[in-house]
Amino acid sequence: MTLAIFLTLAVISVITALLMVFAKSPVHSVLYLILTFFTIAGQYVLLNAQFLAVVHIIVYAGAIMVLFLFVLMLLNLNKDTEPQKSAGWKLAGAIAAGSLLVTMVGAMHGSIQIAGAEQSNPQVGLVENLGKVLFTDFVVPFEIAGILFLAAMVGAVLVGKKDLKV
């Protein structure tokens, strides 16, 4: 059962990811990517990481991709103005990515094992558990992420500002 759900989701996510890459219109790409994100959220649920799944939806589907759509729509970029890269270039890209995949999988194949597989704490993905870890062990990175956000915010505002002078 679980395996079947996993495989279904996996197949859908790979297909939609490919469609995302190959879609001519950027808006379609965005929508395919959102579908991919939903399947990934499904995988999180399968992994009993519900909190993660919901946050994933909120952040990626709910915020980031909306931003993408926004920009696409504001700039009205859907016209197929994107000049396609040459076939050779595409082939090169495919070979590069393919060889990356083959190398990675080949190098890992057969040696994938998880060190702590004997421990079993199915509650690990629940929000209480995550909260404890986040606010004890990982509180420093949590604070540091604040700097990151502040910087990104200032940066985004700075970039987005229209020039006041002239």
């Binding site: 059962m1 808006v27 009993n48 909190f51 919901v54 946050v55 939806i57 909120i58 759509l69 504001l74």
Partner: protein, 344 residues
């Protein structure tokens, strides 16, 4: 708990029935909200409102529905075909999904078996709602964009930026409640507010922010920028007609219903009311109380709509970013201090 473990036949049947009932109720409430809206609008304006279809016009929603179905289904030539069709469906779907985690009551005893009046007790229920409400943007954006009409696009962009902006303040105000109650599950939240021990007494500011944000999230007046007729004709659904338009309108009322339910559950004790045990009447007392609250909030939504003039767009954004979000953060700090001090 993982969803996977729960697959048992009885469980599934129970849930399917519950979902169907809930779905029916949702649609019914939404339908009659349209009626209510028109009726209340009339009352606020010293009018009577629709009163021809049936006694007091009670069949008006049916008539509207029939009209929607029978009108010409028009699709602009330059529209993106599939997205144009997809958008209202997506909007509607997201709106309907949200009701899954709201605890409508404690338990109902039907034929001797207790039935939870909640489709899924996710322990992150409130996040689920926030997540889904953030997805509502897509229907609007896709619809507005795929119509290939600049007014639709403006409407869509306005609506979605408004929703995104207010979602932040909304989330922050909810977090304050979460800090206080110590749970993300709506069920637990409702269970905690027995009697008159409602969260709103502890979180008046949080409630205010939440409520304003839910107005904005539902694209309701005074934040109905998206369909600001004087500027944008009909907003993102300018080009829609027939039942596709109906879906959009309908989904907005569903959203209003759900956000009323969430407001009632999070801040106003859910199915609790002092003196009224939710288990009375075989468990029906809970839903009755909750629905009473929900209807009250729906009324308030309409009341506000017919009282307060529409904001200008920049005012809306200023309110969201410069007032509500700082206020929500302040509220969070306040709550944190309170939790620390009282050790609740």
């Amino acid at each position: 708990m993982s969803i996977l473990l729960l697959f048992s036949a009885g469980f599934i049947v129970e849930k399917i029935i519950l979902i169907s009932v809930l779905f029916a109720i949702t649609l019914g409430v939404a339908a009659y909200s349209t009626y209510g809206e028109r009726k209340f609008a009339a009352f606020f304006q010293d009018r009577l409102g629709p009163d021809r279809a049936g006694p007091w016009g009670i069949l008006q929603p049916l008539a509207d529905g029939v009209k929607m179905f029978t009108k010409e289904d028009f699709r602009p030539n330059e529209a993106e075909r599939w997205l144009y069709i997809l958008a209202p469906g997506a909007f509607m779907f997201v709106a309907c999904m949200t009701s899954a985690v709201i605890p409508w009551g404690t338990q109902l005893t039907v034929f001797g078996t207790p039935v939870d009046l909640q489709v899924a007790d996710l322990n992150i229920g409130i996040l689920y709602i926030l997540g889904l409400s953030s997805l509502g943007v897509y229907g609007i954006m896709i619809g507005g964009w795929s119509s290939n009409n600049k007014f639709s696009l403006y409407g869509a962009i306005r609506a979605s930026s408004q929703m995104i902006s207010y979602e932040l303040a909304m989330g922050l105000s909810v977090i304050a409640v979460v800090m206080m109650t110590g749970t993300l599950s709506l069920r637990e939240m409702a269970a905690q507010q027995t009697g008159f021990n409602w969260n709103v007494w502890y979180q008046p500011l949080g409630f205010l922010i939440f409520f304003i944000c839910s107005l904005a999230e539902c694209n309701r007046a005074p934040f109905d920028m998206a369909e600001c007729e004087t500027e944008l004709i009909g907003g993102y659904h300018t080009e829609y007609s027939s039942m596709k338009l109906g879906f959009f309108l309908f989904a907005e009322y569903i959203n209003m219903f759900i956000s009323s339910a969430v407001t009632a559950t999070v801040f106003f004790g859910g199915y609790n009311f002092p003196g009224l045990d939710p288990n009375w009447l075989g468990g029906f007392m809970g839903p009755i109380v909750l629905f009473a609250k929900v209807f009250f909030f729906i009324f308030v939504f309409m009341w506000i709509r017919w009282t307060i003039p529409r904001f200008r767009y920049d005012q809306l954004m200023h309110l969201g970013w410069k007032s509500l979000i700082p206020l929500a953060i302040f509220n969070m700090l306040l709550t944190g201090a309170g939790v620390l001090y009282f050790g609740k």
